[in-house]
Symmetry: C2
Subunit: 316 residues, 2 copies
Amino acid sequence: MGLPVEFSLIARHFRPLAGPGALDLRDDAALLTPPPGRQLVLTADAMVAGVHFLPDDPPDLIGRKLLRVNLSDLAAKGAVPLSYLMTVSTPKDTPDAWFAGFAAGLAQDQATYGVTLLGGDTTSTPGPISLSLTIIGHVAPNTAVHRFGAQAGDGIWVTGTIGDGALGLAVALGRLTDPTGFLLDRYRLPQPRVGLELAGIASAGMDVSDGLVQDLGHICRASGLTAELMADAVPLSAAARTAGPDWLTTCLTGGDDYEVLLAVPPARTGALRQAAARIGVAVTQVGHFHSGPPEVMVRRASGEPFVITKGGWSHF
Amino acid sequence: MGLPVEFSLIARHFRPLAGPGALDLRDDAALLTPPPGRQLVLTADAMVAGVHFLPDDPPDLIGRKLLRVNLSDLAAKGAVPLSYLMTVSTPKDTPDAWFAGFAAGLAQDQATYGVTLLGGDTTSTPGPISLSLTIIGHVAPNTAVHRFGAQAGDGIWVTGTIGDGALGLAVALGRLTDPTGFLLDRYRLPQPRVGLELAGIASAGMDVSDGLVQDLGHICRASGLTAELMADAVPLSAAARTAGPDWLTTCLTGGDDYEVLLAVPPARTGALRQAAARIGVAVTQVGHFHSGPPEVMVRRASGEPFVITKGGWSHF
């Protein structure tokens, strides 16, 4: 009795990714002995071809992006990543080389971020490739950073540079040139800020995945505060600056940044800078929170409002 | 600044499903404090319209099936279900009533099985509805039942009746009549055997989702044994018996049973019967394991081989 294709796919491509508790992906469920005295942090994201990535994106980058968007959520909570489960639905004619590339990308990032595959499912689909990943991390009890908890007077801080992902998508769609390839790379391969220590530093935080203005709005609503965002303080990469001022709205509202957005009390600014330096990432203050209705006020350096019509990326 | 449709969908339909640690689905990640002294058991399954359910199936039954196929995996390991994360990718024109029905089905089964929603993601897709669910359960350390571990001389046991799901699919496709609606209901709504105590009773086990013969083959390979399956001992429902002997191969090899398949030492037969009685389900011995190459021998009551050409359902 031969085994169906599904099982040989798993054996060839996914079994090498399996870690402790995964039982070599030979069972129906995985085992996880939680790290003693730690609280688990869990999040799940789906990615669909044609929505979250382009169908002809290299498969290793698709695998790495799937893992990294979830790692980014953990990073923004201050959690240490542990392991993940994944479901992969692909058209029947998906070539073996696609799975090989996809798994190779995952293997590379598993080594980078110290995570392993715990379990999952592979199925066919009559539609586009549909991926889902659930990641598990851990924190010391009651130290996870939330969207709520920002205080009036806290600074608004971001890691890295903002807007590269959205500009990279514009490059992929032929709407912008990108001589160095930097922007396209930023779109295809997020740099989750894993290891950034947040406990005792940030009063609130999240990752920027749906656009800085929209995501900042989430912190405003959850924390009951107004955010003053200084558009000209938002850190842009050299490639984004080269694109020119017409693209600034795209940078502020586009998605796919996967940087960390934080509310940090002034007294903790030094600690934030030290924590960021330890993982080799820049942090920049882009505004502050104050009492008021839960909304985001975007201003130019002159103090004038910066009018934005599109609030951010919605998946609907 | 209005919120995108995605967020109101989550608020209306999924927030009421959120349990402890889900932070009202208002954050990027959920928190889970593992039950002290317990080992976690995790599994994930994907379901795609047109592959795992029919696009016009009632949405409440789709939600319940998604949850139940995962509960079935936990049940077959002897795990107590705790909570789940879910990703939901739907076409842009999916009506609100679909989400309402889907969530109502989940709410009903959350109450039945004592689980709550921990987190997830909603996205659009240009393809069919694609769902993925990761469920978390727990067991006393090192008591989970695996596919490996069956011993020569163990009886092969199944819960409930076998083949109803596959026949129900034949009904849905117009290939078989079903005057009572029993078979279609069994296809659409699995009955996971949650609460069946297996620790100290079964030496190996799994749920029957891809067909009895194929899934029994997994236990044979994992345990290094031959299985003798007595085709005429396999418990069939009254509706399946009415379908007639031409459908027996379908019953033995079709998928969607979601019963539990176990290897049980003869000395533990009584304990198995008592455990099954406590959750009100029948258990039936359908064969035994013996030393030999890892394969499934299917025999008639006469001892003659029962020839099966199709080993089971592959998703590829």
